[in-house]
């Protein structure tokens, strides 16, 4: 293990160097980030054996990833924002063909209006594509999630693609202290990729991607649903194994100072780091507040989250994207749904924040906690959809 100063982009590129995937197909121009530029440097310096395919579009990049994965290769890639949007069709195909591709998504706003800064509208829009979604709070977690993602994706019960997200600029471009495992440790942890139906196995010719109509499609989808059900347990067991290696704990989410908390905030990505600081400050003043830092958004840990909330008087859910026409953002909708039928009937307020990279400060999250204390003490049904720091 060594301690280094790395940006989020550097940290993921470093994880990719250590994983040394067989194939990486990526689009080399904006909205691609420095993450891939850094990895391309590793390829040209001969530090990895990876076949780097620079495609003419993100759609082609994901298509090439699918082809390589079908051939039997361990495949990784990275994208961001509108690049992810251009991959849309192929995201579903990667998942339905059960290609265990690992992809970093540097979370940035989807245009329009044109914007390149952080929010979660890109990956949240892809939440139903059949990918596992791991969110990262900082560069360290982006690194750790990337290494674990390989094992989660390639588990034979799961065999599904994984997205590892990190907040654009806030994490991707910020230099932080990161603990890097030894190359040999990562190599051993990820192990050899064992494909299930490699097309290059010419002794056992098979058919990939055939027409699948009303007589079989539904059964294949049912199987795909099961893959993410299975992923639920696998995410946790891989997390435990990685904890033994790294000393850092990994689960579906991380409860922070939740022991006797009455008010809590659910946050994912870098905002969780800010909220952690606010919790510490308010706790010093004797306030019973906590934080749930979400990590695994797909598969959604429905039972575990409802259990974690059961002693609260009020909950705020922070969403860095919106589902237009729906009631609130995607994290809010999932959590409220998870509470239904569990006997939990506390006020849940959705705070939409940080769209298009708007800063979300310590002061704003402190105000959010204070508003939630008012919600808890008033006993009235609160205004449930709120916007943090938007001009009226």
């Amino acid at each position: 293990m060594k301690v280094v100063g790395l940006t989020g982009n550097d940290a993921v590129a470093e994880a990719m160097r250590q994983i040394d995937p067989d194939v990486c197909a990526a689009y080399p121009i904006t909205p691609q980030t420095e993450l891939m530029e850094k990895f391309a440097q590793f390829v040209s310096d001969g530090l990895v054996k990876t076949e780097l395919v620079l495609a003419e579009s993100e759609h082609s990049a994901m298509s090439a990833c699918i082809g390589a994965s079908a051939a039997g290769a361990r495949v990784m890639t990275a994208t961001s924002a509108n690049g992810l949007a251009l991959m849309w069709e192929m995201l579903y195909i990667a998942a339905s063909l059960r290609c265990p591709i690992v992809m970093s998504v540097v979370n940035r706003a989807l245009s329009g209006p044109i914007n390149i800064h952080c929010d979660h509208s890109d990956s949240m829009g892809a939440r139903d594509a059949g990918w596992i979604h791991l969110f990262s709070e900082n560069s360290q977690e982006a690194y750790d999630n990337t290494v674990q993602a390989v094992r989660i994706a390639e588990n034979h019960d799961v065999f599904s693609p994984v997205m590892v997200t990190l907040d654009g600029f806030i994490i991707s471009h910020t230099l932080e202290r990161v603990e890097i495992l030894d190359d040999a440790q990562v190599k051993k942890f990820v192990g050899e990729f064992v494909p299930r139906y490699p097309l290059l196995d010419t002794k056992n010719p098979i058919t990939w991607g055939p027409l699948d109509f009303h007589d079989f499609y539904f059964e294949h989808k049912r199987g795909q649903i099961e893959a993410l059900v299975k992923a639920h347990g696998i995410v946790q067991s891989v997390g435990k194994e990685y904890e033994a290696l790294s000393g850092r704990h990994f689960d579906y989410f991380e409860p922070y100072r939740m022991e006797d908390a009455e008010i809590a905030v659910v946050a994912l990505g870098s905002a969780a780091g800010t909220a952690r600081g606010v919790v510490d400050e308010l706790r010093e003043k004797g306030r019973r507040v906590g934080l749930i830092k979400f990590r695994v958004f797909r598969p959604f840990p429905r039972k575990e989250i409802a259990q974690a909330l059961k002693s609260l008087k009020a909950l705020a859910v922070m969403d860095r994207s919106y589902s237009f026409g729906a009631y609130g953002g995607p994290v809010f909708a999932e959590i409220r749904s998870a509470c239904y039928g569990t006997g939990l009937n506390i006020p849940v307020v959705n705070y939409i924040y940080g769209l298009g990279g708007r800063d979300t400060t310590f002061e704003e999250i402190r105000r959010l906690y204070e508003e939630m204390e008012e919600v808890a003490s008033s006993g009235k049904r609160p205004e449930e959809i709120r916007f943090l720091n938007v001009r009226e």
Binding site: R98, Y197, P205, I206, T207, W208, F216, E219, H220, G223
Partner: protein
């Protein structure tokens, strides 16, 4: 659906078919609007139709064209177009005007 077909737990993942060369089992003949009619008395078995057929639907036996696989022929008409004879050995006829195969 028929209970004879396998359930989702029995199927290979990702829609994979564990055997190659299975397109033959998928019958596409019902897509056809025009049917190729082979007149064996005119045919010289030059095999141009066999070369050009995009669906392997020209049946050849011992080097002779012996018929057309109507379970797979989609009726594209390439065989009739490519037949080099002035008095074509393959002509296309509307399905509605044909007898049932």
């Amino acid at each position: 659906m028929s209970q004879k077909e396998p359930g989702w737990k029995e199927l290979p993942i990702g829609g994979v078919i564990e055997k190659a060369g299975n397109a033959e089992k998928y019958e596409t003949g019902s897509w056809r609007t025009n049917r190729p009619i082979l007149d064996k008395s005119k045919c010289s078995s030059c095999l141009l139709c066999w070369i050009f057929c995009p669906d392997s639907s020209i049946i050849v036996k011992d080097g002779k064209v012996v018929g057309i696989d109507l379970e797979h022929c989609k009726g594209c008409g390439i065989c009739a177009h490519e037949c080099p004879l002035k008095d074509k050995a393959i002509t296309m006829q509307l399905e509605s005007e044909c007898e049932l195969p």
